[in-house]
């Protein structure tokens, strides 16, 4: 692992570690929790043939929507892309491979990689089209589907607060997939609105302990983008 005292760095240096063809988990459910600044740096640097793992495809012109529009994503593992017309078009045109998982299974498959297991046994989706094609085994007189963990080379996560060792604190519904991905990927690049000295966070309030985080960068809250579909009920 990266040494504790070598993690805090410039955003471009952090993103430069990502190579063409990498698999990358990206935090966020809609806009909250999406690491917009890290994604913009990735767009800028030009890495391509990426596999992205994200709950949704953001919207057409923000977050991973920009990478999809720019043709930089070969494959997307997700639960729902309904708010991104371009992603749906790219999928229908065969330029983007989209692998759909029910959201709770997607979360759990990522969590499973973070826990260091091969997979888990579930009854979710048995008897449905989306649950077909999985290996099934019988245990205790019932049938269970094997759901293998999802791994990735990198995770890009968004936190509200961090310290220089890489401890992370999330806020509100920006938590979502971020702590799961921060445990699951080989290397984890985190952005935070504020990066404090070690000791600046309360031990009980840390969601992701620094042991899981490889690089930490500070970003301006103004780089956050607002999902256009977000609206009052």
């Amino acid at each position: 692992m990266t040494r504790l005292n070598d993690k805090y760095m410039d955003i471009d240096a952090a993103i430069a570690r990502i190579e063409d063809g990498a698999s990358i988990m990206v935090g966020g459910f809609g806009s909250p929790g999406t690491p917009f600044a890290l994604l913009d740096a990735l767009l800028e640097q030009g890495q391509s043939q990426l596999t992205l793992i994200k709950n949704d495809a953001n919207e057409t012109d923000i977050g991973i929507g920009k990478l999809i529009r720019a043709g930089r994503v070969d494959r997307l593992i997700t639960s729902h892309i309904g708010l991104n017309r371009v992603a749906i078009e790219e999928m229908n045109a065969g330029r983007l491979t989209v692998e759909i998982h029910p959201q709770g299974l997607l979360a759990e498959k990522i969590r499973c990689a973070g826990a260091g297991h091969f997979g888990f046994l579930t009854d979710i989706g048995l008897g449905t089209e989306i649950g077909e094609g999985r290996r099934e085994i019988d245990c205790d007189g019932k049938t269970w589907a094997v759901e293998p963990a999802i791994h990735a080379d990198f995770a890009l996560v968004h936190a509200d607060l961090a310290d220089r060792y890489g401890n992370l604190v999330y806020r509100g519904t920006a938590i979502n997939f971020n702590p799961l991905m921060a445990m699951a990927a080989e290397r984890v690049i985190a952005q935070a609105f504020a990066v404090k000295a070690p000791g600046g966070l309360v031990p009980e309030q840390i969601h992701t302990p620094c042991a899981f985080v490889s690089q930490i960068v500070q970003v301006d809250p103004a780089t956050s983008e607002q999902g256009r579909r977000a609206h009052a009920v």
Binding site: S31, P32, I110, V233
Partner: protein, 217 residues
Amino acid sequence: MPSDQQRILARAAGEITAGQIVNLGIGLPTRLFHYLPPDLEVLVHSENGVLGCQLIDDGAEADLEMIDSGGAYIGTRPGASVFDSALSFAMIRRRRVDITFMGAFEVDRQGNLANWKIPGKFSPGIGGAMELAQKVERLVVLCSHNDKHGNPKILEHCRLPLTAPRCVSLIITEKAAMRVTHSGLEVVDIAEGLSVDELRAATEAELIIDESRLERF
């Protein structure tokens, strides 16, 4: 005279009781927020990771990190918590959500539900609907009785890919409220001014109707 949506929502709100944990699906169910009395002690779960959602006041500035699963900005009420997606779905799979409201493309006599895919036309992904439908204690479907071409949505057997099999407890449309029972769909309420024959004509599924016990809504 209430609109069809208002009729559905007002009837649906009666299914929620104090002390419950409630999930409101995307679309029409989300509008149930407006039918919950502010002093009713209910925590609304949203699968993106919050328990205790609340409408934000008109004109109040939205917190950009607080949305519900439909992407609407929300606030929280006292007793609320936020958490990651794994915990959120653990709560669902462990049946800690008392009641969930969802829309439907099709629903049938056995309580099968299809609401995520129309092959060749619409397949944006299933999101969190599968776990919510399969594992909630009580699933209430809110939908129009017929599609925009007038075709029945309450069927003998769903034809679209299922969200989950045998998951629905109650169906509320602008025409009727129907309980899913072992014997089939039992009409409990029928809309003001609608005849039983009109209801049967608009429905593909066979309906169990005891006219002496029908309530109007």
